[in-house]
Amino acid sequence: MLRIPFLILGLGFGILVNAQQDALATLTGDGSLQWMVVGNATTPKCSPGDAIYTFSAKEVVIQQCAEGAWKSTKEVLEPWSAGGKNGIAFGGARYEVKSLPASAAACKGNANCVRLTTVPDGKTDATRSIYLAH
């Protein structure tokens, strides 16, 4: 009698976990992947706004350019899911992850390109998008 409800529940949970894993798998590549902000300076000395994100299953290492040198911070990485949406959370913000085609203008021709967009937190109207490539 209860098999069908349990089956539906199990399937729903499976889909949810799978969707969360998708966002994470995109960024970690089932291991650890380094992503650079699209448009990072290619010269040895970094420029303001340049950043490198290294995603792994549980954490993200963020290297940001400060006064011409890289400054590294580490944040805990967690998947989230709410209201039919999912993504990853780190540094006090929740992000939706979207793989973009290289043809998207923001990707500037990079084949492996993703967009991380913050989810509105109810405190501010502004959302932030980070375009990463590797």
Partner: protein, 158 residues
């Protein structure tokens, strides 16, 4: 000589009658004030509901206009649709900044932000038509929910 004792029950009734009158007037006045207060609250709530409904209708129209711009619901925006799309997006942004801050609730606000972002992403060719339509539907559902909640859950300070 027999002294006439005062009738106690008559004395009580003399004292109770004015008291009852005063009590009756007080209760009546309290009921009247309470009724007036309730009526004014209901009137305010009704006018807010009407304003909300009008604002959400305007948003619905702006969303609908944005969603019908792409011819044949094409997956990606085409060059000939960009001008009309920008014009509709402008109207949506007018709703976003001009009308809704007065009436919206937090759920509608989040849905508005997400639709605005999605319209921008669609315009840039980062997201397809299905994503835009999905966000539009979420926004209209949030408006619908907000109208339903208007009568069931009084807002703080109302």
């Amino acid at each position: 000589m027999e002294e006439k004792l005062p009738n106690r029950s008559t004395d009580y009734s003399k004292a109770v009658a004015p008291l009852l009158t005063v009590l009756g007037i007080t209760v009546g006045a309290w009921q009247f004030t309470s009724q007036m207060s309730h009526e004014s609250k209901m009137e305010f709530s009704r006018s807010m509901y009407t304003k909300k409904l009008q604002a959400y209708e305007e948003v619905g129209k702006a969303v609908g206009d944005l969603l019908v711009v792409p011819h044949d619901e094409r997956l990606w925006i085409s060059a000939e649709d960009t001008m009309a799309f920008d014009s509709c997006l402008e109207r949506f942004r007018t709703c976003y900044w001009g009308v809704l801050p007065l009436v919206e609730d937090s759920t509608v606000e989040v849905a508005m932000i997400q639709f605005k972002d999605m319209a921008r992403f669609y315009r840039r060719g980062e997201n397809d038509y299905h994503d835009l339509a999905r966000e539009g539907m979420s926004l209209m559902n949030a408006c619908n929910q907000s109208l339903e909640n208007h009568w069931s859950r009084p807002k703080k300070g109302e």
